[in-house]
Amino acid sequence: MARCDPARAIEKKQCSGCLIMGLLTNDFRTAEKESKAGDRKFDVDLIREDFPILRQMVHGKPLVYLDNAATTQKPQRVIDAINRYYSAQNSNIHRGVYYLSEIATEAYETSRKAVSQFINTKSPNEIVFVRGATEAINLVASSFGKANVQPGDEIIISHMEHHSNIVPWQILCEERGATLRIIPINDRGELILEEYKKLLSEKTKLVSVVYVSNSLGTINPVKKIIELAHQCNIPVLLDAAQAVQHLQVDVQELDCDFLVFSGHKIYGPTGIGILYAKEEILQEMPPYQGGGDMINSVTFENTTFKKAPHKFEAGTPNIAGAIGLSAALDYLQNVGLENIIPHETDLVNYASQALSSIRELKLIGTAKNKASVVSFVIDEIHPHDIGTILDREGIAIRTGHHCTQPVMQRFGVPATSRASFALYNTRDEIDALVSGIHKVIKVFSTRP
């Protein structure tokens, strides 16, 4: 079988030189193009007032919350929206003919439109509400995967995937007799695109990669990854769970075929997430789960399904979650990603610099293009001991493998400590982290 050679395919269609240069320079952070910093005043102190949880003390110290890649805190606006829904609007959607049901249905479908606008889909029908990014990937693996993946086929993922973008594909490959291929990463924690190009072939049925790595912070060159896959007519799924809150994501500009993210990592509630898929792909996909609300008619002989996205939303959905997510996106857009991006870029640069100055500390993940995550290890001190001591200083960081065990294996560490930032974090908090780490080193250097 002739291999699909993306480099050749590019030559046919466009100047290969330009594209390859683009690949190597790794310079397509979509956000930066549209950055209009200074349009509005960004005051982090005012932002912090919107997040009630940040006012509390932990172990007698002000809370320094640096575990935003795990989940973000919620602004009052989101809490109020959920409260308002349960206090004044609660009812089941889509089939009620009474006042409350109309209001709830309207709010739920308005949220779909808000998500659609947020990532710039062609139509709100391309937005499926799910529980989170994990369920969205499982939906694609189960529905698209079973319809399209045959024995001998291949699915490409990368070495820096979260377990949620590994395990569903492993299960599918096992069931279908297909093979999982892995894009390797270099010592800085960047994808090796030359190797990726070699993996693309006529056997490839899907490329599924993370946009921003949760354990390394790397922003991947997803636009180039998509272009290369599309030269071979291979669809691409982007795991944007760590991207949508930090970068301006435009699915039409990226031309991705699928994109997934979780509400709770973008200042919304848990239990709500998004699957975006191009409408022509979504309409072709078989249902994921069967049940109420996803059907046109049911008899014991035959059932006909609704069109997407409703075909994929069996049962009563997380209505409050969708409403909360919509409020979160409103909040984020009101602050403005054009203001958030420079603030968070400053935080990640400041943190990288401050942590690098600690002699005993080594950063894991030093990609040129990074977003809001700083992972590190300290000589002979296990991340869990670091986490426990920092906790007593009121500092919440994540320690462990971050659901990316292959990344830990790649860097030869059992675990890392990870600080991850959100729009409400400050340089002062990073200073607190650094002084906390000095305390950790002091505790461990005490000798009898």
Partner: protein, 150 residues
């Protein structure tokens, strides 16, 4: 920081840095692998059992200071003990590290193990302190599957 000082006592830090009975045992007849899926810590225990007694015990671990030090102290306590005594000590140790925070255990009763009393103030670290013990018990019960702290 007082609770931190109590948790990371010098004896514990010392055992972490220079663990006793560390490395594979040549003539072992019982072994088990312990795993904490929460943090990825791994610990292998090797035992030489003769006449229902622990004649020798060694371990290899990749993990935090608490799990490594606890396993190290444990090996020094268990060497020469009978299987029954080992199981009793495990129960006692569990009681020590899970007593309600603030309650004062009777330290005399615990001997060398008393240094781990500080763990009771840190519920998230109980699994670290008990990983070595769970692994020994699994080895003694001759379970072939890997034990996890979950």
């Amino acid at each position: 920081m007082d609770e931190i000082k109590e948790l990371y006592q010098e004896i514990i830090l010392d055992h972490n840095k220079n663990p006793k009975n560390y490395g594979e045992l040549e003539n072992y007849n019982y072994t088990s692998e312990g795993y904490n899926p929460l943090c990825g810590d791994r610990l292998n225990i090797y035992l030489q059992i003769e006449d229902q007694k622990i004649k020798d015990i060694r371990f290899v671990a990749s993990g935090c200071a608490i799990s490594k030090a606890s396993a190290s102290v444990m090996t020094t306590v268990l060497k020469g003990k009978s299987i029954e005594e080992a199981k009793e000590l495990f129960k006692k140790f569990q009681k020590l590290i899970t007593t309600n925070a603030g309650d004062e255990p009777d330290f005399k009763e615990y001997g060398k193990l008393a240094v781990f009393a500080g763990v009771r103030e840190f519920p998230t670290r109980v699994k670290c302190a008990s990983l070595g013990w769970h692994t020994v018990i699994a080895a003694l019960e001759d379970k072939n599957e890997m034990v996890t702290t979950e």
